[in-house]
Subunit: 313 residues, 2 copies
Amino acid sequence: MRAATISDGSVVVADHPDPEPAKNEILVRVRAAGLNGADIMQRAGRYPAPAGDPQDIPGLEMAGEVVALGPGAQRFSEGDRVMAVVGGGGQAELCVVHERGAMPVPDALDWPAAGGFPEVFTTAHDALVTQAGLRSGERLLVHGGAGGVGTAAIQIGRALGAQVTATVRREEVRAEVEKLGATVIDPEGFEEHGPFDVILELVGAPNLGADARALAMQGRIAVIGIAAGAKAEINLAVLLGKRGTLRASMLRARPLEEKAIAQRLVERQVLPLVEAGAIRVPVAATFPLDEVAEAYERFTSGGKLGKIVVLPT
Amino acid sequence: MRAATISDGSVVVADHPDPEPAKNEILVRVRAAGLNGADIMQRAGRYPAPAGDPQDIPGLEMAGEVVALGPGAQRFSEGDRVMAVVGGGGQAELCVVHERGAMPVPDALDWPAAGGFPEVFTTAHDALVTQAGLRSGERLLVHGGAGGVGTAAIQIGRALGAQVTATVRREEVRAEVEKLGATVIDPEGFEEHGPFDVILELVGAPNLGADARALAMQGRIAVIGIAAGAKAEINLAVLLGKRGTLRASMLRARPLEEKAIAQRLVERQVLPLVEAGAIRVPVAATFPLDEVAEAYERFTSGGKLGKIVVLPT
């Protein structure tokens, strides 16, 4: 098979042996695979794939048709449309995944949307609901509301009945983010728009001190991104006064059973909202596999709202 | 009634009107009232009592006999031995408390032990079990193991089946802390003794960076004290890699319903251990009310292990 391949700090297309589905795994012909920040870090050699996952083929998510079942696999049949978060290897013509790690693709999603759905919606749902315990009526602040996880978090938060505020730096995409259901504010001085019961921190250390000050009583900060820096200062007296919680989490390094639990929760709580049209997956651009290098460039150049998706087959 | 009274940075004994039990409150003749760090801060004017609690009478905990019932109070009868966490006013001959905020005193506790039990054991149980979710078999680190909350946390952790390690700075009390069931280590370089599933942080900001590094995967840091400083530095990349949680909490500022829930949990999970002799309340010294100033001096001078308790009547 052909696959996107990390080579010396750039991404090229190369031939690889076809993967074979082991016990309880399914082999997927990949129709669409979204790009994520982790791919860019991996391209730069800063984010190796977990042991046991393809080391040189990037791609944390994919959608496609089941083309073969490993021994014992029974959740899906050949031809089924599936999508999944994977530890790596998604940006390829073929990909294997444990059947417990895969989800059915709702009819409402076409291939590009399905390929861009699993990573950001699973990350956002896990952070908001499982980690931060977001409840109806609470005030949610999403940092980086124009990003992939941000747009997913806004829609999930809104569907759960939260009041959603989002910081967006780029002026030109604010109107689009507002259409997703958030009150959009400037990142500068965001704390004046609080207090917030839950803050989704996708940016990193520079925000943390103000996050604590913007927290409501018993508020929770879910840290899932540190692109802007890791070394944070926080005033524990402020956090004590709020009885606040700071929880850091990432999806990629989790063992199968925890990823599977996260997928079951998305199936139960998010996919019905997709089917009902209450949640959509903004896709900014698609690229054939041969243009995967251009896809990466487009991802890093920012620009429009939505996912960048590679279409391997 | 006579009561310890904060006056211009010192604590004296003064006369006050007798408190009267309002609806669902009980009036307690206080036999013993433990001292806590918050009293010392309040004496210095740095920790005002919550609104609705006595502002100038210190004392966050007390034990004594019920001498009168307010309208509707029915959990206790006159003469019952009770103990409670209160928002203030414990170091007095009489104290009122909502009946849902009080607990029965087990036969195993004499008055000094009962007077020194509620604050530290409720704080420790809440932090370890309710906030940090400590489970059997987990590795617990207690910072400040020789303090009141520290000795309570060690015993609760051990009774729950955790492996307990405690930092103790003073050489002379280490043997006593070990007898409570902890492996005692020096605060310097504590992180080399990890990883720990739960870290109880009673010291404050200077430890926080090393706490994060000493955390096990999915570990939890419960911050309940910041005596050594509030401004902390933490590396979010370390916390993300561990998928760690930092939770700050304090008991005093909570509304009645939350304090009452904490007391119900102590009644159910800790008092049976007290009755069985598995948990004891170390008392270092007792002072009559007239010597309350000396009691405060003794508290701040450190020295032996255990609670300093005032005996108002």
